[in-house]
Symmetry: C2
Subunit: 302 residues, 2 copies
């Protein structure tokens, strides 16, 4: 089956790039779509075929992954003037791997089904390193027929696929809950390590000890290391959590549900973005607290 | 050396009990102090000797562990009318395993040294199950002479001892940072799972998926399971985090350092206590959010 499957990946950012090269590695003919010529050239050197527009790829793909930044971009690359759906064959599987409000994910899947396509709501987790290794975790929901057809491609990019239901919605909902926790944990790691610096503790020691204690989180281990090293090279940027925690609070507000921790963390990410840190690694929220509290973190020359 | 060492444990609550039975298991003669007769009788059935007052044990102990609830209680059992220090031999090692403000830990160690004692600032982490297994993690600071003398007893109760310095202070400071993270993570787990319930997700599924994703924390795994099961049997109560996050915010406020996440989590624990949930498991903060947001969690009959 693999030999006959052709895939496309729209959006070759860090996660999309990882998916695209993982598909190539699995022997699947893969087309990549991006606006950046240098990225397309790099992708062709890896053995893929690069295009500047989604309309150019869909007629020749059985499975189309979308890895753009938000719901508006996803609607544009799928349904816009240069969108993929108009040229796609009936029954093409669209796997939408974008973190977006669950109601938007449901709306996109509905439009895809109306157009005769199959749709999987499939946000991912794992970061760029796991993506490039083909080891993403996918929180997926959609009809069995879509999973059956896309299976070889999905297997190529992931080590774990959670099947969360047969319609769009649950995939994006669980991803939203994951981002709630991830965003709050990054902010908590920032608060813990900047306060540690203020009281004169050695950050490397604190980072090591806590990872053996009940205060640990995946984000404390991962982003805490960025703060300790003073390295804010963006693996995932502050602006991403402005968006993702905004999805959480927007969804909760519409339900009149209280999310005090998410609200507080979001305010901190907004403050970092307003301070010009939006393009830095999300761990840079630590700089906001450190500057306000009058202590210098490693690598903070601002 | 073990054979000649005699220990005392003041306060046989969940952590102190675990330490005391671990000492007995290591063949160390151990005296236990508690106000509750039934606990003392249970301890004697395990092979220990039970007393109602700290003054009765110290003259016969080389190492005295203190496992009471807060700084005031620690000062009382050490320096009060029935306190241990007055009757202790010079050079007795006092290992203070109480989570308290770092400045109070420093003050207690100073008074112990002035009285001719050796002092270790030694907050612990791990919970009651690990405590009973002799597998606590200890965040410890104090002079080498104290560690040398207390070594067999400390080894009996812990699998990991972080030596954080040769004076009191760093032990309690690192523990405070751990509690900052732990408290915020419990509140975040509560927010994530109560919002999941509101949007109709299956909590067991969410709990399973997130543990494989970047949103995971030690507390999400541990306390999240309590919320999913609707079991609020207090392994560690809401009131403990009212105290511990109060230590964080009090210490930070005195330094004019911002702790927005801790402030928000503390407000939630205060609200839970005001709602009559102070004696329930700390995961019960989820009930506060669920009730405000109009959704019923498993096991919440309130």
């Amino acid at each position: 089956m693999t030999a006959n499957l052709t895939a496309a990946v729209i959006g070759l950012g860090s996660m999309g790039w990882g998916a695209a090269v993982s598909l190539l590695r699995a022997g699947i003919v893969t087309q990549g779509v991006d606006l950046r010529l240098d990225v397309l050239q790099k992708f062709e050197r890896q053995g893929g075929r690069g295009y500047g527009s989604a309309a150019q790829v869909a007629d020749d793909a059985d499975v189309v992954f979308t890895f753009v930044v938000n719901a508006d971009q996803a609607e544009d690359v799928l349904f816009g003037d240069q969108g993929a759906v108009a040229t796609a064959a009936q029954g093409t599987v669209f796997v939408t791997c974008v973190t977006m409000p669950p109601d938007r994910a449901i709306g996109i899947a509905d439009r895809l089904h109306e157009a005769g396509m199959l749709a999987i709501d499939a946000p991912v987790s794992g970061g760029s390193i796991k993506a490039e290794a083909g080891e993403m975790t996918i929180m997926a929901s959609g009809p069995d027929a879509a999973f059956d057809k896309a299976a070889p491609a999905i297997e190529a990019i992931s080590t774990k696929v959670f099947r969360l239901g047969d319609v769009a919605g649950p995939g994006s909902q669980v991803k939203m809950i994951n981002q709630l926790l991830a965003g709050v944990h990054i902010a908590a790691a920032a608060e813990a390590l900047s306060l540690s610096a203020k009281i004169g503790l050695d950050l490397k020691t604190v980072h090591e000890v806590i990872q053996d204690c009940a205060g640990n989180s995946w984000m404390f281990g991962n982003r805490g290391a960025h703060i300790v090293a003073g390295d804010y090279t963006p693996h995932s940027a502050v602006d991403i959590f402005v968006k993702d925690l905004g999805i959480v609070t927007g969804t909760a507000d519409a339900l009149a549900f209280p999310t005090p921790l998410s609200d507080t963390a979001l305010a901190l990410f907004h403050e970092a973005a307003a301070d010009g840190l939006g393009g830095e690694d999300d761990a840079a929220v630590a700089k906001v607290l450190a500057r306000k509290g009058g202590v210098r973190l490693p690598g903070d020359t601002g």
